[in-house]
């Protein structure tokens, strides 16, 4: 809590630093080009910054993480949540002028989930999209708000395939040259035109270089990885951050060398979350053993986060596990975290090798999953789906007790081992006004404006 308070103070301090600019101008200005620099891929599922700038979903989460309408204006369920019908927003057009139609949405959704959809069938009915499923889909509207189901034009009216990503979002793709992704304002966006005329996103830029560019004015928005948030605050950068924006989880493949749940249980007890949070992520992360953060569910404290080597040895017993492969995505901190976990597991009798690249043959995978919602049930479903596991058959979201039971039962298999709640933060330059982050830490570039815009 103290740490969170410190971060909040930092954010407040940063805001106060910019106060003259904020209070000096009451209305944001239109125009200008916003320069953003990132270390990763702008189209990366889950964390790609450009995806939500170009594309929208049928539904969306607002700044508080609650569900709101987007391309669908309303929706209803029948047959005990086995059938859902989403009525499309009228008058919406794609960035190339193609009108949004139910057929376009169905084609985009089928392309998004590529056979691993939560529904059995989706079809266009007039100006609405109808989902049917063999299992109940009580949280389908929340799922459709996730980054996974953004709507992009897949087939033009003349039957041709469009080049590049074309969506209905506030920005349209205009080019990609010399490692810079260029986006222009979508004048016909159903949400309204964004404040800036263009956004240039320099990709695969090292964080140190991003900060250097920020300091000399070559960048307006740069990333702050969780492990560098403390340093950024110490350097008095203008930081916007969201605590508990991502869940760091260790996913154990239950079909291979770790098919035995006792081995997975030993791993869950052997991991030293405190060392990860305090050292690698510089006390900017919160150790957790539950999927939902404490401030969302209120029961996260019931899942012990401490390391218990005695329990790990007891559970493992005489079981011998073959050499394991642990893969991690993300930057240096994620790789260091993977190495630390491997070291923890070595003490518990496991022989673990780490790899920086995601591997299909990995027995363990270290992921950072976005927490896009603040609705407990929606977030739980989103996290379970993002972790790659099948949702539990018996879902009980009616009460907090039922929710706890569902999560507890799910975690009992130790296929998904929650480790940390991670923040997500950006630093902005002095020109930037009103850059806000979603609950998952994604920047809302459309709402940002520039001080020196003409």
């Amino acid at each position: 809590m103290l740490r969170r308070a410190a971060i909040s103070c930092g954010v407040l301090l940063a805001l106060l630093t910019a106060a003259p600019h904020v209070f000096g101008r009451t209305r944001p200005s239109y125009g200008g080009t916003l320069h953003v620099e990132i270390a990763g891929d702008p189209w990366q599922h889950g964390t790609g910054i450009a995806r939500r700038m170009v594309m929208d979903g049928l539904t969306d989460f607002d700044a508080a993480g609650m569900l709101q309408s987007a391309l669908a204006v309303n929706w209803k369920s029948d047959n005990n949540n086995h059938r859902w019908q989403f009525q499309l927003r009228p008058g919406v057009v794609f960035q190339d002028g193609t009108p949004l139609s139910a057929a376009n949405v169905v084609a985009a959704l089928n392309a998004d989930c590529d056979g691993h959809c939560p529904w059995t069938a989706v079809r266009a009915v007039a100006s609405s999209v109808v989902f049917t499923g063999e299992a109940a889909m009580p949280n389908l509207p929340a799922l459709l708000a996730s980054d996974e189901f953004l709507i992009a034009l897949t087939v033009k009216p003349d039957g041709s395939t469009p080049g590049g990503n074309i969506g209905t979002g506030p920005f349209r793709l205009t080019g990609f040259t010399n490692g810079v992704l260029q986006l222009g304002a979508n004048e016909n966006c159903w949400r309204g035109r964004p404040f800036v005329d263009a956004v240039e996103i320099r990709v695969h830029r090292a964080v140190r270089d991003q900060w250097l560019d920020l300091s000399v004015g070559r960048a307006d928005v740069v990333e702050i990885p969780p492990e560098m948030l403390r340093q950024a605050l110490q350097q008095r950068l203008n930081v916007v951050a969201v605590q508990e924006a991502q869940l760091l989880e260790l996913h154990a493949d239950g079909t291979g060398a770790l098919a035995n749940p006792m081995l997975r249980g030993a791993i869950a007890n052997a991991v030293d979350r405190a060392a990860l949070a305090d050292v690698i992520f510089q006390k900017q992360a919160e150790a957790t053993a539950s999927l939902l953060p404490e401030n969302v569910s209120g029961y996260a404290f019931l899942f012990p986060t401490g390391r218990n080597m005695d329990e790990a040895h007891r559970i493992r017993g005489g079981l011998n596990a073959p050499p394991l492969l642990l893969s991690s995505d993300g930057g240096a901190a994620m790789q260091l975290a993977a190495q630390r976990i491997a070291l923890n597991l070595k003490e518990a009798g496991f022989n673990v090798q780490t790899t920086a690249a995601a591997s299909r043959h990995a027995d363990l995978e270290l992921h950072a999953l976005p927490m896009e919602s603040r609705n407990p049930a929606d977030l739980l479903v989103l996290l379970i789906r993002a972790s790659g596991e099948a949702a539990p058959q018996e879902l009980s979201f009616a009460s907090i007790t039922g929710l706890y039971k569902t999560e507890r039962d799910f975690l009992a298999s130790h296929s998904v081992i929650p480790l940390l709640d991670l923040p997500r933060a950006y630093a902005t330059g002095p020109r930037v006004r009103e850059l806000k982050l979603g609950v998952d830490g994604a920047p809302d570039i459309a709402e940002a404006s520039l001080e020196d815009a003409p």
């Binding site: 305090d278 190495q339 090798q353």
Partner: protein, 601 residues
Amino acid sequence: MSLRQRLLLLFSLTVAASVAAVAWTVLVRMRTVFEERDQQETALFVSQFQREFQTRSSEVAAAVGRLAGSDRARSMAFEIAQSGDAAQYVTAAQTMAQDAQLDFLEIVGPDGNVVSSAQWPARFGYPEAAVKAAPQTAFLKQEELPDGSTVLGLFAVRPIGNSAPSVVLIGGERLDRAFLGELPIAPGMTVGLYTLAGTGSEPGQAANASASAHFNAQQLIGVNGNLAGADRYAKLIESALTSGEQSSGILYLTSRREDSANVTAIPLKNESGHVLAVLTVALSRAGLVEAQKTIRTTAYGVAAAGILLAIIFSLWIAARVSRPIERLAQAAEDVAEGNWETRVPEEGPGEVEVLAQSFNHMTEQLKSQSEKLVQTERVAAWRELARRLAHELKNPLFPLQITVENLQRARALSAEEFDEVFRESTQTLSTEIANLKTIIGRFSDFSKMPKPELEHVDASKIVKRVFSLYSGGKENGKIEFKLELSGEPMPLEIDCELMHRALSNLVLNAMDAMTDGGTLTLAARPTESGVELRVSDTGEGLTPEECERLFTPYYTTKQHGTGLGLAIVQSVVADHKGTIAVESHMGSGATFIITLPRANR
């Protein structure tokens, strides 16, 4: 084996043995020289290695010392000591190690736990045992890496600041291929470094050397990577690991002798005396093997030339020595065969010439003695002949004399009585004169033995002929005749009439020996080189003395024999280049054995 062959063999062996002895001596001496040179080079390399090691140790200690004295390190140590929060320095060691060009660097907090590790960044928070009893000088230490491998490093420990407990830096350089590459390696020398696999129970802890004595070829590296034939080093390295002492030996890296090396394994120990690694110094024996090959080839060439010279020399010696001796040997054989006219040239070196002269003198003496003996025997024979003639003639002459005297006295008797006496006397005279004729005829026959007229005939035929002649006689009713013939061919070149007479003579003698009856056996069988004819009786037999004198002319055991029968038989057999012998024991009969040479066709 002839003298010439013996001389050739002797000379060849002498030359070959001499060459072999010289070659062996040279090879042994050369190997000793090479081994001494290898030992000197190894000792020199070890000395240079120790100097390089000391230099590296000083450099590492200095580098770590400079880092510990830097403002950055002092500031960090102060911050850690003041706030107790070391988390912000979790990646500091990597940057500092990079700046100081160290392969290993760990920042260890006052509590003895790792604050930051350059070689294993995830090892923060774990205790670092090496700092507790670290010496002032650099020391060897095995460092475990995140991938599970273990590397050997030269480490130094330096505290930051003077107060205790303090933050400590432990940094080092890797002893690897690059380190080996900087050593002064002489041509033909191969240097390797064997490091033990980590077996520490805690991550990053030093390996327990004694528990890792089992050889693993992957852990032996050379300047250019893994050493060729690394498996062959196993015994030496394991010996050095277990004993902690330097061990040496010759290793054959491949099946080729040129790929062998004199290898010395030098254990590298840490401060507590545990062996952490083994430095191998291999000096190629290619030069030695090449030189040995050259010497062997030369020795073979010299030996071959020597043997050739020995052949030539032996031929020359043969011409000078062995040939006269061979001539002497041949002449001796001729003399042995009765050719007493044989002479050898009186030439040759020294004793050989004297020997030839002596041989010729000997043969002359032999011839002279032989002629004297012949003359003596001839006189003796004439005397014996005269004695026998006198004896044979005396017997009929005495009745003749008595008869003539009776006739002279009968003239005084009446005519009728005179006629009676005259008739009896003339009858007696006729009888005795006939006896004289018979005696003279026998002597005439003995002196007129005809020359054999040889013809090809099987021995069985001549034996069967004699058997059929005598076996059917009525006067031989008490004697049983047996014929024993071999089924194999027994070809002979003989005069059938003479041989028939000889066999008949033996059969008649046998019949005379069995007056009371018995068994007479005629047999013929082939031998290795001829044909054997046997005439056996079951009479009283002969005494050894009789056997010896049996074939002497005019010797007889019969009351009215002339003693010429068996002499004639022996003469016939000798004329056919055969031999005759007798086997007899008293009371068990006698067997006469004629052995004749087998006909060629």
